[in-house]
């Protein structure tokens, strides 16, 4: 199935946006305004949906005219594109969206045609599946990991680099003792924040881990 590569699921949702000419501010503009204010780091709703690697929301206004002699097509609705790459299965992911990021889902999809809300989770799942497009070809460079195991590996890498730098040239017996403590601490230390933190200018390897 082209939506899946190893442990990774590639979800593509295309939801028609409500068109209402009576409104002063149209739904697509309100939606864009909301998305522009939404945090993109560890405060993002996708950081709560802990199995998300990368996700995007895009308002598609129209299709593209590539020039003559091609025919000029136009859409009659605008569409919200939701593209997500996550580990695990689709039903669990959508169910978590409806229950764990309820406010966010309501704020986004209330602008879309036929959105049933999130109180009835089964109806929400059915709605999202109606809007789902099957992927024709999906490529995931690393597809045998979960978000959790990837973040653990990134934490390990940064911590080991720091440990090696700090203990350079230490006698073997002391080093062995220090390593045992380091490895125990490492396994108990919290995972890296999903989505990074606000201080984006602090690079990961500069954050002390031990």
């Amino acid at each position: 199935m082209a939506n899946i590569s190893g442990k990774v699921y590639g979800l593509t949702i295309l939801s028609p946006i409500i068109e209402d000419n009576r409104l002063e501010i149209c739904h697509s503009m309100e939606l864009r305004w909301y998305l522009s204010q939404l945090p993109r780091d560890c405060r993002s709703p996708f950081a709560q949906l802990s199995s998300t690697y990368l996700a995007r929301l895009v308002v598609m206004d129209d299709v593209v005219f590539v020039g003559h002699p091609a025919h000029e097509d136009h859409l009659k609705s605008r569409y919200l594109i939701f593209e997500s790459n996550f580990d695990g299965d689709l039903d669990t992911y959508l169910r978590r969206m409806a229950t764990e990021t309820k406010e966010f889902v309501e704020a986004v999809w209330k602008h879309c045609v036929g959105f049933p809300g999130t109180n009835d989770v089964a109806a929400f799942l059915a709605y999202m599946k109606k809007c789902q497009l099957n992927t024709t070809f999906y490529f995931a460079d690393v597809n045998d990991q979960t978000v959790e195991s990837t973040l653990t590996a990134l934490k390990t890498q940064a911590a080991l680099a720091h440990f090696m730098e700090k203990h350079e040239g230490m006698p073997a017996a002391e080093l062995q003792r220090a390593f045992r403590e380091f490895y125990q601490r490492l396994s108990k230390s919290p995972a890296l924040p999903r989505g990074g933190n606000q201080l984006r200018d602090i690079r990961q390897e500069k954050i002390p881990h031990d």
Partner: protein, 198 residues
């Protein structure tokens, strides 16, 4: 810029295709999915976290209510979404110089596609069919694809070392430590800071 989040760039593109060409493209993608060696160049480039092509029939756009007007399109459409590291120009240049055969086989079926070489016409076409991202989330904004792969190798090497070094004498531990350092040294660096702008 919303197309960027840390080291990842979100690209969206849409191209029109005459409906009779869609099954041919789908057959090509089927072969590409089944014959893994054909993905070798894509894999070796090692700067794309995830990418997908989605073919949408002109009558297949979701229709959810009688109030929603029915679409009346001439073409089928090919959507392309990519999550890559680096700048837009680096990405398109790499496509044109390394992946040109595969890309031409994919986009050849789209209207007015000029080919991926020379790169100037290719860039003009991609700029025309691309549209911007309104919201982009990245779980590891500080990490490129190569950083992730390196971290996984380091994690495995360290886990193996922790397992095997438990009962070693200090002298043997010292030797094993040097071996570990030599093994992981190439993977402890960083591939650099995130790009600014395009």
């Amino acid at each position: 810029m919303t197309n960027l989040n840390g080291k990842a760039y979100a690209m969206n593109a849409i191209t029109p295709m005459k409906p009779w060409k869609t099954p041919i493209l789908k057959a090509f993608f089927f072969i590409l999915g089944v014959v893994k060696p054909l993905q070798k160049d894509l894999k070796n480039l090692s700067f794309i976290h995830f990418a997908r092509w989605v073919s949408v029939g002109r009558h297949s756009l979701p229709h959810l209510s009688e109030q929603q007007p029915h679409e009346d399109l001439t073409y089928d459409y090919l959507l392309f979404f990519s999550n890559f590291n680096g700048t837009w120009n680096q990405y398109i240049d790499a496509f044109s110089s390394v992946l040109y055969r595969g890309l031409d086989a994919i986009w050849f079926w789209s209207e007015k596609y000029p080919g991926s070489r020379p790169v100037t016409a290719f860039k003009r076409y991609i700029a025309l069919v691309q549209f911007d991202t309104d919201y982009y989330y990245n779980v590891y904004p500080h990490s490129a694809t190569n950083d992730v792969k390196a971290a996984l190798r380091v994690h495995d090497a360290l886990a193996a070392f922790a397992r095997t070094s438990q009962s070693l004498s200090p002298a043997d531990f010292g030797k094993a430590w040097l071996e570990l350092k030599a093994t992981v040294a190439p993977d402890l660096g960083s591939t650099g800071i995130a790009p600014e702008g395009t």
